[in-house]
């Protein structure tokens, strides 16, 4: 490799040197024997035009070769530049693909985790219902056997209250594992949000204001009760995060099928989505909290105040509706939940019912 490089660098000099040396030798001989050469010139006199043509042609050829070489060199530089450019593009594309793959993996892992926990929760709920049922049954019988004024009767009443709490917990766990068994109808999203808000308003402190700003009036294929559950859970969380004072704003807008925002979410279809942003002015949350916020049983509330199931149920419901949910927040700067739900062409689907409600 080195030898080759050396030869490449010295070759032009070698050629020039050889030419100069030869010219010097020629000039030297010409200087001493000029007479003899002039005689020779006489001899070839009638060949001179021919010779001059040959020399001219040679020089032209030489020039042509030099030009050609220069052109070739230029073309090569250009193609090298092009290759460079495409390589650079490919590298950035690869990086992008890698990044979206990682995002997808994270989302997938999250989904699988939630699903696995859902299955587990279903199993636990089944056994737990049996246990609770036995406890409740025996206690009721025991209460029938004692005097209604006795401490035993009252204390057993407390046990019943505790079982009622256990029952509520199990029904929440079941709600989480319950996935495909809700009837989906074509519902008006704007009206559903308004209904959920009117349900919530009486329970929310007066110092918390709720604003709803719909840009569109879309229809989606969904289960109305589950939609209520989504908004009630998120807004209740927001209220809890605000210590009784602040503002919650809900925006409703449309994202066209080709919107770049959709690329951030894996596994969605090319179709228009309804976008709901729920923005609060609460105390926000840090990155580790945000990462775990949709996990079941994850809660930042004190024991007894939250089950840690609210947002994981929201996540499950939104997945069931082929939607997406994400959260943005900074500690002390409030939080923004963004929900995407596939929009439904109302004219085609009106009145069509999907599935059966089997929740009994």
């Amino acid at each position: 490799m080195d030898g080759k490089n050396l030869r490449k660098e010295w070759l032009p000099f070698l050629v020039a040197l050889t030419g100069i040396v030869l010219s010097a030798i020629f000039a030297h001989f010409l200087g001493y024997h000029i007479e003899a050469y002039l005689d020779l010139l006489d001899a070839i006199k009638h060949h001179l035009p021919w010779l001059s043509f040959v020399i001219g042609a040679l020089i032209s050829l030489l020039l042509a070769i030099i030009t050609k070489t220069a052109l070739l060199a230029k073309a090569r530089t250009r193609s090298l530049d092009e290759t460079n450019e495409s390589l650079r593009k490919e590298i950035s594309e690869r990086a992008e693909v890698e990044e979206s793959k990682q995002k997808l993996e994270v989302a997938l892992r999250q989904g699988q985790k939630l699903q696995a926990i859902g299955t587990l929760a279903g199993g636990i709920a089944h056994d737990f219902n049996n246990i609770l049922y036995a406890i409740i049954g025996y206690i009721e019988m025991a209460r029938d056997d004692v005097d209604k004024e006795s401490t035993v009767y009252k204390n057993l009443g407390k046990v019943l209250e505790a079982t009622a709490r256990g029952q509520e917990l199990v029904s929440r766990i079941l709600a989480f594992s319950r996935r495909q068994h809700h009837q989906h109808d074509v519902v008006n999203l704007r009206k559903t949000i308004e209904a959920a808000l009117s349900l919530l308003r009486p329970t929310i402190p007066a110092s918390v204001t709720i604003k709803f700003e719909p840009e569109i009036d879309p229809w989606i294929l969904a289960n109305q009760t589950q939609l209520h559950q989504i908004f009630v859970n998120i807004i209740n969380n927001a209220v809890d995060a605000m210590d009784d004072e602040g503002q919650i704003t809900i925006y409703l807008s449309r994202i066209p099928a080709n919107d770049p925002l959709l690329k951030a979410f894996p596994a969605n279809e090319a179709q228009p989505y309804c976008r709901i942003d729920i923005v609060d002015t609460g105390h926000g949350m840090d990155q580790p909290t945000m990462e775990r916020i949709f996990e079941p049983f994850f809660t930042t509330k004190e024991v007894g105040k939250g089950t840690g199931l609210g947002l994981s149920i929201v996540h499950t419901i939104i997945k069931e509706h082929r939607g997406e949910i994400s959260v943005e927040s900074l500690l002390g700067r409030g939080a923004k939940f963004t929900i995407l739900l596939p929009e439904q062409d109302h004219s085609e689907q009106q009145g069509e019912h999907h599935g059966q409600n089997t929740t009994g």
Binding site: G122, A125, Y133, I136, Q167, L174, T358, G360
Partner: protein
């Protein structure tokens, strides 16, 4: 007063329900799973069968469909804890197959006893009109 076949794999629930039903002066024949219930049905003639859905050996679903074919006048009450395989524990399916009433555990025993009474009365009325 009715003769009730109680099919339940959970020992605690079975014992508790037996006591509850006996206290309401019903006669209870307990069975721990579908297979046992099937063999008991060959010798006994209960008015009502109260059965769990998710059980080892023979499930409540199989039991209900078999019994409904063989003894169409036997009233069936399905009970389930839900979860495990299907969120509702196949309660809706059991009703389609022929269970008259279905309950999700934990059940309000008063409601269960009322349902039993209603079914018994309905049965007697039917028998009387025949």
């Amino acid at each position: 007063m009715a003769k009730i076949l109680l099919v339940e794999d959970d020992e605690l629930v079975r014992d508790m329900l037996t006591q509850v039903l006996q206290r309401a002066s019903h006669q209870v024949i307990p069975a721990t799973n579908g297979e046992e219930a099937t063999s008991l049905l060959r010798t006994e003639k209960p008015d009502i069968m109260v059965t769990d859905i998710i059980m080892p050996k023979k499930s409540g679903i199989t039991l209900i469909s078999e019994v409904k074919n063989r003894q169409p006048d036997l009233e069936i009450i399905a009970i389930s804890g839900g979860g495990r395989l299907d969120p509702t524990g196949y309660l809706d399916l059991s009703e389609t197959l022929g269970a008259s009433v279905s309950f999700e555990k934990p059940i309000d025993n008063t409601a269960l006893l009322m349902a039993i009474d209603l079914l018994i009365h309905g049965k007697r009325d039917k028998a009387a009109t025949k």
